[in-house]
Amino acid sequence: MMLDKVLYHSVTVFDLIVVAIILIIAIVITKALSLYLKRFLREKVTRGHLEILVKVASYSILIVALLIILPLLGVKLSGLLVAGGIAGLAIGFASQSVIGNLISGLFLMVERPIAIGNVVNIDGTVGIVEDIRIISTTLRTFDGPFMRVPNQKIFTANITNYAQNVARRFEYMIGIRYSDDADKAIEVIKKLIEDHPLILINPAPMVFVDSLGDNSVNIVASIWAPATEWFGVKMELLWKIKKALEKEGIEIPFPQRVVWFANELRGGELRDSK
């Protein structure tokens, strides 16, 4: 029969037809998977990252297809596997961190706990995300320098993303003297908050007497601002509050102690002796 005709070693025409079918199936699966990934992840990952993901998935399918095809073409994988196994072990040890970073990078792209331009705190390092690559992420810290952080470290680190939400809250604690009118102070602070255009109406700001401290009556002002503006507002408002309170005769007190003497002062004794 034509199909049983041996071409070389033990490879027949039938084997070649199977190889061709496997290749066609692999190519079809690759195309379908890349289309599906592009459609499914289009809005979840950036275009550059999506290309990387699609390539990784496509090459993985092609490698699996190749491993199925090679024995059909008369290539014995056992010899390759032994040699490849030893080489793989060596390469594996050498590239352990690279692979770890690569896989972490892929997960970061899909999970997206951070995005380019976000202000983040990664294990105590605060900065703006400049780029997220497949192996590492670069941050620009607020004092200027760039910092390259391996993706594996980011993936396992505690991340605080200050820009993930559209709004952010900040607080001030303002101490006033016990002799001052706390209601008046709250009114002054509320007026400033109301007049500031970037402080959000909702969630509503809160201003209240939080505690009666050792040296002062402590008023807390809890304020929401758009995430992109909160730091500027926070920097600007506190001094305005201080000036507005002072204008109303309300002062922020220094630490103080009232000292009581068990006996009268020496001045009293001197006065008596006269």
Binding site: N165, V166, A167, R168, P197, I199, I201, N202, P203, P226
Partner: protein
């Protein structure tokens, strides 16, 4: 004040001063309004200037692309009913200049109160420009330099009474019209089940003869796909 002018110009009205004057080889643009002054040197020979109301989401910073109007009173809408109401909105004015029939915005300003708010929660919500308005049954008398009005057709598509306290609009879809006395928009609000609603603007003047504004998003040639807004975080 709104309309097209030949350069050089000088306009003084209601505390606003705008001028585009030739100064040596260039033109100098100056604007003063409520203590804020802007001065720009125009390295071109502009021939026309256009002043008109634009989407009220640009001042003091272009942080939001939505406008939230809180109603001063609660609105109860009958089941399957449609009613027209009038709301006010803040007016922002843009100054455009043109050298070859294409207008480019060079400045925006406003005389209205500036405030922002959050619609929804901090994770999924949207930052909106905030405005509080009374509900009027007919066109309210307004200073058109400060406030415009929206004719809002509220349709309750549900079989029960619905309580509405606010309306959120996508600024990208705003269609603003003006004449010498008023600035207006027309919009629809469809109340749906589950405390949600859909809002959108209608490209139609309130009164025949009103001029269509050149909106900022049109002038900047931004391709806008989403013009409607789904209010899914409550009414």
């Amino acid at each position: 004040m709104f309309g097209q002018y030949d350069i050089p110009i000088r306009i003084e009205q209601e505390g606003i001063t705008i001028s585009v004057q030739k100064e040596e080889e260039n033109f100098l643009y100056r604007r003063e309004c409520l203590g804020e002054s802007v001065e720009k040197i125009l390295l071109a020979g502009p021939t026309k200037a256009l002043l008109n109301p634009v989407e009220p989401v640009n001042k003091p910073k272009a942080l939001a692309s939505h406008l939230l109007i809180e109603f001063a009173s609660i609105l109860q809408v009958e089941p399957k009913g449609t009613r027209n109401i009038f709301l006010t909105f803040p007016v922002e004015i843009a100054v455009y200049i043109s050298t070859n029939e294409e207008f480019e915005v060079i400045d925006t300003f406003t005389m209205s109160r500036q405030k922002f708010t959050l619609y929804g929660d901090p994770i999924n919500g949207v930052i909106c420009k905030y405005w509080k308005s009374s509900i009027y049954p007919a066109k309210p008398p307004l200073n058109h330099m400060e406030e415009g009005f929206i004719e809002l057709a509220v349709t309750n598509t549900t079989a029960s009474w619905v309580e509405v306290t606010k309306a959120v609009f996508n600024a990208y879809g705003m269609k603003i019209y003006y004449d010498d006395e008023r600035v207006s928009m027309k919009a629809n609000m469809k109340l749906k089940g589950g405390g949600s609603a859909e809002t959108e603007f209608i490209e139609d003047p309130l009164v025949e003869g009103m001029t269509k504004s050149l909106e900022i998003y049109t002038a900047r040639k931004l391709s806008v796909t989403k013009k409607k807004f789904i209010m899914e975080f409550g009414l």
